[in-house]
């Protein structure tokens, strides 16, 4: 079970300051024009960019929690996925347990044996999601998880994320440029015009 994610006075040289609370177990959509600071905001939550202000999960402050531990609790998934080992399965701690999840996302289990650089953009996207979720983070921050997917796979992604959230009861924040898709996935949607400094 996750805890409230609180942020106060968060600012980077390019965005903020911003403050607020994301309630435990909520499922929030984030939309807005490109360059408005949505990804930067989520990267602050995930401790991937240097920022001012404070962020806490439950009673735990980001700065007083070891960085790797924090990022295992608060997981950010990039919009473009990269791979570092030759085989896809090398990126998973327990590739044998992925079969049902692969099926839910419209992927064959044999894809785990393929070379990472042979994946299509859509395959890479879906496998990247599984890679990010494999150790069940408390907070899941997804940056355009459905971009570059065809209609059928967007639908599979939607069903997968809906079921995942319902089953795991994690906190989820999803960025998307497709409001209709986002509204079907999330309990509420926030539109950001600009988080850029000075705006």
């Amino acid at each position: 079970m996750s805890a409230d994610l609180k942020f106060s006075g968060c600012a980077t040289p390019f965005a903020g300051p911003f403050s607020g609370v994301i309630r435990a177990g909520s499922n929030i959509g984030l939309t807005g024009p490109s360059g408005s600071g949505k990804s930067t905001l989520l990267k602050c939550f995930a401790d991937l960019v240097e920022h001012q202000g404070s962020i806490s999960l439950g009673g735990r402050q980001q700065t007083s929690t070891p960085a790797a531990e924090w990022r295992r609790m608060v997981r950010y998934l990039h919009a473009d996925i990269v791979w570092w080992s030759h085989r896809v399965s090398d990126h998973f701690s327990a590739p044998g347990r992925l079969d049902p999840l692969l099926d839910d996302l419209g992927l064959e289990s044999s894809i785990l044996d393929s070379a990472a650089d042979s994946l299509s953009t859509g395959e890479s996207k879906r496998l990247g999601l599984l890679r990010a979720l494999q150790d069940s983070p408390e907070v899941v921050l997804l940056d355009e998880p459905a971009s570059n997917l065809d209609g059928d796979n967007q639908e599979k992604m939607l069903n997968f994320l809906t079921e995942y959230h319902r089953h795991r009861k994690c906190t989820m924040v999803v960025i998307s440029h497709e409001p209709a898709w986002l509204q079907r996935l999330c309990h509420s949607t926030v539109t950001i015009q600009s988080l850029r400094s000075g705006s």
Partner: protein
């Protein structure tokens, strides 16, 4: 056997061969003519000046003159080791990392060779201390330069991998291990290659010099083996220190890369 003293016109013969190659490069438009000319003039000026300074140092045998000269060598090597990098550290770290690496690697191995093996009287005998230090420092400087260049390039080309693995909760030391292994291999390769073929493909400069000066080949070989161990150990130590320090310098307290990507002018 003693060698005839060299006159300036002897050096002119050597310069002529370089001039011919320079003309060939210019005619075939391969470029580098200006760099060749500058490097050749710089080399002549530096060595002639060095000759004068060494004469003074050898005659004076004042310990702090020798130490001062060692310091100048390290400062120049520090600057040169980062001068031609495609990417550099920002700020003072660009000097501190190579300086500490060079100092911490070259000095102990020089001290070991000079104080344990050569045992000159006095300990700061410049005719022993300076050549030994120079041989180790020159090789160590190249190693540091190659290691940093490759490591920074790896960090730049792997920046997306770094960020995505950080996001997955991996530690920066673990993420960059492959980058450091690759950088160390690149940096140590010239020395390992040279050691592997020494005596077969090439005769090392110090050994050749000793033989030309009348030393027995067997003794010259022993000295050369010792120097090779000093060079290889110093280079390995410098490589380890430079890579460790530069990783610290390019990441913040949360393991995020912050200051890698300044491009030199």
């Amino acid at each position: 056997m003693s060698n005839p003293p060299l006159q300036f016109w002897h050096l002119g013969v050597g310069a002529l061969s370089m001039l011919v190659i320079g003309v060939c490069f210019w005619v075939t438009r391969l470029g580098l003519v200006r760099s060749m000319a500058v490097s050749a003039i710089r080399m002549c000026a530096q060595l002639l000046l060095l000759g004068l300074v060494l004469e003074l140092l050898f005659e004076g045998r004042v310990w702090w003159w020798t130490v001062l000269f060692l310091l100048v060598m390290i400062v120049v090597a520090t600057r040169e080791s980062t001068q031609r990098l495609r990417r550099r550290l920002q700020g003072i770290a660009n000097l501190v990392v190579p300086f500490v690496s060079l100092l911490a690697a070259a000095l102990p191995y020089t001290a070991l060779l000079v104080l344990v093996v050569f045992r000159p009287q006095p300990w700061h005998e410049p005719s022993i201390l300076l050549p030994v230090f120079g041989m180790i420092l020159g090789n160590v400087m190249n190693t540091v330069s190659l290691a940093l260049n490759q490591f920074f390039q790896n960090l730049q080309s792997g920046r997306h991998i770094i960020e995505q693995r950080l996001a997955l909760g991996h530690e920066i030391a673990e993420i960059t291990r492959g980058f450091r292994v690759d950088a160390a291999r690149t940096a140590m390769l010239p020395i390992l290659n040279a050691m592997a073929v020494t005596g077969i493909v090439s005769l090392p400069g110090m050994m050749t010099g000793q033989i030309l000066a009348g030393e027995s080949p067997e003794q010259a070989v022993r000295y050369q083996i010792l120097i090779w161990f000093g060079i290889a150990s110093g280079a390995g130590a410098a490589c380890l220190i430079a890579l460790h320090m530069s990783l610290r310098a390019v990441t913040d307290s949360r393991g995020r890369p912050t200051r890698i990507f300044e491009r030199p002018e």
